[in-house]
Amino acid sequence: MASDDTEENLLRSVALQNAKSILLARQRAERELIEAKEALERKTRDLAHSLAMLRATLESTTNGILVTNADGEITDFNQNFVDMWRLPPEVMDTRQHRKLLEATGLQFKEPATFRARIEEIYASSPPESFDLLELADGRVFERFTKVQFVDERNVGRVWSFRDITERRRAEEELRQQREWYQVTLSSIGDAVITTDTQAKITFLNPVAELMTGWKTDEALGQPLETVFHIINEETRQPAKNPVDKVLREGVVVGLANHTALIARDGTERSIEDSAAPIRDATGNISGAVMVFHDVTERRRVEKALKDTDKKKDEFLATLAHELRNPLVPIRNGLKVLQLAGNNSVVAENTRSMMDQALNQMVRLVDDLLDASRITTGKLQLRKETVELAAVVQSAVETSRPLIDKQGHKLTVTLPPAPILLDADPIRMAQVFSNLLNNAAKYSEEC
């Protein structure tokens, strides 16, 4: 090294050069400090803004909020918390959660149970917890808690309380209402099926269970067409499901005519009724309800009535025909009596013929008056032992005028020995007379 003087100068030189470098370092540090300070000020402003927003949020929520640190000290709360727990301000001044619990605990029938649950939460420190609190005055609170983490460090817990007393009451009313509806729907005689907006079954009443063959627990969630299998009973083709149109268009849809429901076991029932949309409080469709009933018996009766009506018409036509037939010999008889003069034999024969025709008419009128016989379409037979030749003679006499008028020739050949019948002579005569009349009408002239 150099001499002492030189070395002292060198030391001074080094020291002073260092001083310049240190000054530069200091200036750099000061710049960094200023930048850090400005950044901190920005963050502070942002933080103040965030805190203001947080406070506004805290106060605008309808929930009661309490914030505690890991030592059980209250670090924040909102006015709703104080109001819903009806706490005097001095209780909050303690800033001690456990002191607070002494006041809030008094609002429970069993304060010890309430406080024990809080201690359990403090001891086990679950990430989240949920409890339903039923206060002695009937109010019900939901309590939700969540651990607060800052930089992955547990710094406390947020306790959030919501007064659900009114909601519970409304839910209970709704439950009762739903139960009432279900009981009602279960009690009515029609079948009822409801679906959601996807046409999945949400409800069946007992009648619907009976008619479809599906139990409620099996049917719930099933597509409607699986349970409610319908066909056109005339074409035997699958019928359109009305619920699809209800959900699509929001209109009430009636089932097509001749719709038959095929139950799970294959039983077929004629049904009729309609489907309608279920709308929520805002008017949106939330599902569909279908009400239907078994009309199998009614359709059978209707068909029977129709058949009966038809038979009645045929009967009346027959009856008119039958009434008209005896009139011809009576009219002819009157003409013969005019012409016969004093010929008693002719008169007697004519009178006998007219009497016979008149009896036939009386019988027919009797039948006509017998409503039950007309309704059922059955005429009562008055059977007796009668000779065939007499019946044929009666029929020929009845039909003679028409046969003659049509220019036909009638030859009657009877067996030599009498043939006895167990029959209604009038009806038998009518049968033969009808045959002869028809033959006279529809045979060509000789």
Partner: protein, 353 residues
């Protein structure tokens, strides 16, 4: 009323250790290990026997001194740094940096670790100031390693050393800033001192206020073989700047001052409310053991100028900052320390609650 009292650090090494180091020439020799450990164990045992509420390991392992321990043995330093002349006529040499980057060879927390394994009392740890080590960079710029880079590295290493000591549980970390008055001697304008203060503050600024309360700064005119390197520099030049340091504790050599009252008045004028002032009441460079009355009176005198709630006592300096210093015996050093402790308690009783 209790007045806290703390040692500065070094206690003379056992002669057996000094001779072994002189013979083996290096602290890397494994034969030295048991001697070092025994010296540390014995120092701590005797330190605790004095009843000292806070102890050190006597810097038994700081080879070769309080100034160069952290860089001794580095491949990029040479032993031909600047000379520090002492009034006794001898010199001490600093190390010179020959290449970058600058890194410590060792951090003082390794001494703390060993000491705490023996100690029951709280242990404080002294570390060298960055301003002292800044003089390692030569006059000519090192190629490829600027002075600015060196200062940055130096600050980071110093910060690291303090953090490690705090983390290990040091009761206090004391920055040995014996070059404060030396700076004024080199540059009477005060610019150099201010740059030293700046440099230390650049490091201290990186610590929290809580950590700063566990950090102290020791100033003295240098003490070695019963002499100093800068006692002639007036404290009045140093103290106003000294209290700008962002440390919670100041260990100020006072026993060796000619006009203590004047200096203590200056301290009162410039000290800050959150600073505790440990006044040196025994002098390691004074070979005799101070009497109890003498020490007691120094403390009572200090209490007249420094608020008692901010007052503490200490030694003017380490009793043997250079490991080969045999000018004072271990017994004398510990006796001085015991005198300081007893008289501090006595003074506290006299001052009363």
């Amino acid at each position: 009323m209790t007045i806290p009292t703390e040692p500065i650090g070094s206690i003379p090494r056992p002669l057996q250790l000094i001779e072994a180091v002189a013979a083996l020439g290096s602290d890397g020799d494994p034969k030295l290990e048991p001697l070092y450990n025994e010296a540390i164990r014995d120092t701590i045992e005797r330190f605790e026997a004095t009843g000292s509420p806070v102890i050190t390991d006597g810097e038994q392992r700081k080879y070769h001194n309080f100034w160069t321990y952290s860089v001794h043995g580095l491949p990029n330093v040479a032993p031909d740094g600047f000379k520090i002349p002492f009034t006794a006529g001898h010199i001490r040499r600093m190390h010179r940096l020959t290449a970058g980057p600058f890194r410590y060879k060792r951090y003082a927390d390794q001494y703390l670790d060993v000491a705490m394994s023996y100690a029951r009392a709280p242990v404080k740890q002294a570390v060298i100031s960055p301003s002292a080590l800044s003089l390692m960079y030569p006059d000519e710029e090192i190629s490829g390693y600027s002075r600015e880079e060196f200062i940055d590295d130096l600050l980071r290493e110093h910060e690291t050393e303090i953090r490690r000591c705090l983390k290990r549980g040091a009761h206090k970390v004391q920055i040995d800033f014996t070059e404060g008055r030396l700076a004024l001697k080199i540059d009477p304008s005060g610019n150099l001192l201010h740059s030293f203060i700046d440099l230390i503050n650049l490091a201290l600024s990186r610590f929290s206020a809580e950590d700063q309360q566990r950090i102290g700064v020791h100033t003295c005119p240098g003490g070695d073989r019963d002499s100093t390197h800068s006692a002639e520099v007036d404290y009045a030049e140093l103290l106003p700047s000294l209290f700008e340091l962002k440390a919670g504790n100041f260990y100020i050599a006072m026993a060796g001052e000619k006009d203590r009252v004047r200096v203590q008045k200056i301290i009162r004028q410039y000290m800050k409310p959150d600073q505790r002032i440990f006044i040196g009441v025994v002098s390691p460079i004074d070979p005799r053991i101070e009497t109890a009355e003498e020490v007691r009176d120094r403390i009572l005198e200090a209490a007249q100028y420094i608020p008692v709630e901010q007052l503490g006592t200490t030694d003017d300096g380490g009793c043997s900052p250079f490991s080969d210093d045999t000018s004072m015996s271990r017994d004398t050093a510990l006796a001085k320390i015991r005198a300081r402790e007893l008289c501090t308690a006595l003074a506290a009783e006299i001052i009363g609650p």
